[in-house]
Symmetry: C2
Subunit: 268 residues, 2 copies
Amino acid sequence: MSSVVDARRGRLLIIGGAAGPGLLGRFVELAGGAAARIVVVATASSAPTAAETEHLAAFESLGAGRVEALRIANRSDACDPRVEPVLRSASGVFFTGGDQERITRVIGGTVTDSLLQELVAAGAVVLAGTSAGAAMMSGTMIVEGDAPGVSRACVRTGPGLEFLPGVLIDQHFGQRGRLNRLLSAVALAPHQLGLGIDEDTAILTDGDDFEVLGSGAVTVVDAGGAEIIRVPDRGPITLTGCRLHVLPAGHAFHLTGRRPRVIENEAS
Amino acid sequence: MSSVVDARRGRLLIIGGAAGPGLLGRFVELAGGAAARIVVVATASSAPTAAETEHLAAFESLGAGRVEALRIANRSDACDPRVEPVLRSASGVFFTGGDQERITRVIGGTVTDSLLQELVAAGAVVLAGTSAGAAMMSGTMIVEGDAPGVSRACVRTGPGLEFLPGVLIDQHFGQRGRLNRLLSAVALAPHQLGLGIDEDTAILTDGDDFEVLGSGAVTVVDAGGAEIIRVPDRGPITLTGCRLHVLPAGHAFHLTGRRPRVIENEAS
């Protein structure tokens, strides 16, 4: 589907939360369907057993060949040598939702982290994440913030695990009216492309390209060409000349070229 | 402040709701301060007496020379010959919040409507409106819609009274996270410029120019240069290449040129 494939990046399925069977089934299919070996990581969740059980059942019912949970509750788990054979035998790894800072705090810089980077770059696994599991994939993560308006105070960011560098990802996007906080985050880091992913919606990367999947849309905020950006300590941000694209399924986007395009001739 | 003055348009103060004394005081000042003759129209309100009382007290306490309420509850009120001398003696007319469709239904096409258009165009009155009173000033009014996402279903529009033609105005903008519905409305009518006005924030027009006033920001959505717009009956809208500006006080915007600019050298 992509004309330019960047060998540095494997395939990522980044879901804005609340994935329905269509998206989860697509993940199973990408991981090999009946031959898939799927590993669920619920590190973000405060109730990992429930999150694991729910996802294992979903992937089994969607025909995945083998599914298992990998419990990584703390940094010693993430450095445990038993992690390596589990991940090396996987064809798909799925990060559940919860708190994205738990993922970066527990996994960041560990052997689990570097092994996942290696396996994704080699194209050995499809890496998927929903909600917090989506946020952590970005270069800069939106950690929290639901204050009104576009201001420094209305968003808190932190470093992501950079599976997809150069982007800021926000989730539950349309459902929670988060365009203001994504605009705020992009004004603070205009070199990063803002991606707001709706619930039951995902981007599937392929090199420097991504395709939109699911029932909602992906909102792309590109402040690269912005003429005036002012971020006062208090009060509203100024941001002029920002480009914005709202892309449902049937559309793709080239990340480095910052260009949307239509895949299908007619979406409606 | 404006270099281009369009004689067709008088001065409009369009407030996104919840105006503090700074903005209300600016209205009193524009209407002449101690010499001001202010008329409050609470047609939008379901509790007009309370809305009138509150606004009369506010304008009096801010030093307005004379304040009075003009009760226009139905179309016979709006056609009553007693309206004319009241409006002709006014230097400022203020429309309160409530339901914007009550304003267009009760006043649209009546002698009150044409008289206001005449007085504003002549520069005889400053016309101000907050919330519903702001919405009705536009060419196309956003009537309702708070569904998530960017879609046809998430916004309902109707014709405004066109004191400021060519624009779509939304209010309580940052506070209610309404960028999605403004994007939806602009995708449905890309010739209209979308203006999302925060609470305690206003635009003050001067010919083809407006200046931003107050504590929040005005978000301008310009789909004039959008490359792809698809609005299916159901499901998410596609909109690519939309321009967006977030403008707090200290900034102005040229409506026909669709260009923002800085008024002050430093906003922070």
